[in-house]
Subunit: 99 residues, 2 copies
Amino acid sequence: MIVMLTVITYDVNTETANGRKRLRKVAKCCVNYGQRVQNSVFECVADAATMARIKHDLIELIDQNADSLRFYYLGNSYENKIEHVGAKTSYDAEGFLSV
Amino acid sequence: MIVMLTVITYDVNTETANGRKRLRKVAKCCVNYGQRVQNSVFECVADAATMARIKHDLIELIDQNADSLRFYYLGNSYENKIEHVGAKTSYDAEGFLSV
């Protein structure tokens, strides 16, 4: 089974309670398959079928008129394609910031 | 000259005026080489030397103790690696939301 990395970025207005609630749901949906690396950036490692299911679930969660999702498919050889600079913040499974 | 796509994601607390100011500066730095596709996601198309300069400039702009940058290198054949779902929001060169 080939697993691939997909970077999922989510645009939502988190100044509203509803926006924050949707963001938490998106985080919960992604957390089994990867990690939250920034406030609205998730990295999922999954095979193609699982990734299709995650994508389907995410589309159900968001408000398509107000929010957007972008998917970046980095393939199965992704170690050298990612670089991080600055603060390392960890987010817990519920999507809350934990410092 | 080979140009590559780099996705730059920026984590900053935009609930503070300083955070919003840094985000605007990051947006301005990226805008000549690509576009802002979400509130804190930028896609830059540039050759390796230009990309190194953009990265250097961005690192100078951010507060490394509070903010983070992630760079995803998608290479020169990136058309099929990106998917968008939901609202299409455009951001102007100053980094302000324009609807």
